[in-house]
């Protein structure tokens, strides 16, 4: 840790509470050397309507993915991107965003693919900052370009591919999409062509836990007792040490990945970013329809 952690007692309950900071903490520490605040929103125009003073914008849609291959940035491109945002390898990065930090945790996960050590989430995100009447700025900060090193991307620890999922049966899988997507009732939106998956349903044995169950109404994370109840008891993770989460393209599931890894402290959690847009179109993979998880398919 390069920057003092937020010692709010509320964060002590979590396995890795140092990955969270409060809005108060950000307000008190913003502008400090070694700390970069990053806003990453689902609605990419929000940053321009006003943001935490000094925060830089990260655009999940145009900046984190390779624009040709369905993959994340290469190490070189990531180094360029972070340099252009004025971020150094030793910096503490605090990310926040709209919609209960949905996209903030996505950016967090992508940064962890590149092993950036000190990344934290502002609990409650943009909505809490605004609800508390804290200062918003429309000024884009002047960034002094850094030279972020080219570091190898390490997928294996926190990213699952389709082949990994096929080998994972028997260990917990969490489907974080809506109940309608889980059951297969909804494969596409009304009046629209299918948005990318040819079949509806879920991966056999996956428990359904829509991602937003992990947050309170004020968009902060739920307490450890509530999270244990939801994930360990209701979804049946119990004491399992190896979990895979998925959604449609891997964004909602990075929120759940964050919760399972940093708040519950499960040792190995991977995000299957191919998710339903890959699985639901792949040839000959097993699928279950309906509200029940289903059993381990024969031959696996």
């Amino acid at each position: 840790m390069t920057f003092p952690v937020d010692t709010s007692p509320r964060f002590n309950q979590f396995a890795h509470g140092e990955a969270l900071v409060s809005t108060e903490w950000v307000d008190a520490n913003k502008g400090s050397k070694g700390l970069v605040i990053v806003e990453c929103d689902e609605d990419i125009l929000l940053y321009s309507t006003g943001h935490v003073p000094g925060a830089v914008k990260l655009d999940w849609h145009t900046e984190l993915n390779d624009q040709v291959v369905r993959d994340y940035l290469t190490s070189e491109d990531m180094a360029k991107l972070l340099s252009s945002k004025g971020i150094s390898r030793e910096d503490t990065i605090v990310i926040y965003g709209d919609k209960s930090n949905w996209w903030a945790t996505y950016a967090f996960w992508v940064l962890k693919l590149f092993g950036h050590e000190d990344v934290r989430i502002m609990d409650g995100g943009r909505a809490k900052w605004i609800a508390e009447g804290r200062e918003l700025s429309k000024q884009t900060p002047e960034v002094i370009e850094t030279s972020y090193p080219v570091v190898p991307r390490q997928d294996e620890k926190i990213r699952a591919y389709k082949e990994d999922v096929l080998k994972h049966f028997g260990k917990p899988l969490i489907d974080v999409r809506s109940p309608q997507e889980y059951s297969g009732e909804r494969t596409h939106m009304p009046d629209y062509p299918d948005e990318g998956a040819l079949r509806g349903g879920h991966i056999p044995t996956a428990a359904s836990v829509p991602w937003a169950k992990a947050v309170n109404e004020d968009q902060t994370f739920r307490s450890i007792d509530e999270l244990n109840q939801i994930y360990r008891l209701e979804a049946g993770i119990n004491d399992a040490a190896d979990v895979i989460a998925y959604c449609r393209i891997g964004e909602r599931s990075s929120h759940t990945w964050f919760v399972l890894t940093y708040l519950l402290g499960i040792p190995k959690v991977r995000n299957y970013d191919g998710s339903w847009t890959e699985w639901g179109s792949a040839v000959r993979v097993p699928i279950v329809k309906g509200t029940e998880p289903g059993s381990i398919p024969q031959g696996y």
Binding site: E42, D43, I44, L45, L46, S48, T49, H61, T62, D98, A127, M189, P190, D191, Y192, E195
Partner: protein, 142 residues
């Protein structure tokens, strides 16, 4: 394509990609408030389910089409799209609305800058405007 729609396309094509989002935000800021008869009666409005953020619309048809759209401040992209469609279609004749080219949405040049789901959301708004126009036209004729 009608003059208002053409003007919007021209405005977008004249600015570089790096400024297109700022332009969209200007449209978002200029989305007119709902008239009282709708702001007091939200049940009259139709939810556009294709959009990730709550956006509601209502269409009135006489010899012209009148379009009312609302979306929350915390969803500026959605507001921007609503505002563009409102400007492009409000005050047009019913037949002009029904024949309005769907390609308008893609011609804005925003597809690379916002997510495909958002572009679908805008198509959803346009489809619903057309459907309501058709329904109200049929109701008026029967």
């Amino acid at each position: 394509m009608n003059a208002a729609a053409k003007e919007i396309l021209d405005t977008f094509s004249e600015v570089p990609d790096s400024s297109k989002l700022e332009l969209l935000l200007e449209f978002a800021d200029s989305l007119p408030e709902l008239p009282e008869r709708y702001s007091d009666h939200p049940e009259l409005l139709e939810r556009v389910e294709e959009c990730q953020s709550p956006v509601y619309l209502f269409v009135e048809v006489d010899d012209r089409v009148h379009i009312y759209l609302t979306a929350p401040q915390e969803a500026p992209t959605t507001r921007g799209f609503a505002s563009i469609l409102q400007l492009a279609l409000d005050g047009q004749t019913p037949s002009a609305v029904l024949e309005f080219e769907d390609s308008f949405v893609n011609a804005l040049g925003l597809t690379q800058l916002v997510s495909p789901l958002r572009i679908r959301g805008m198509h959803g708004m346009l489809n619903r405007i057309k459907r309501q126009t058709k329904e109200k036209l049929n109701a008026g004729n029967s």
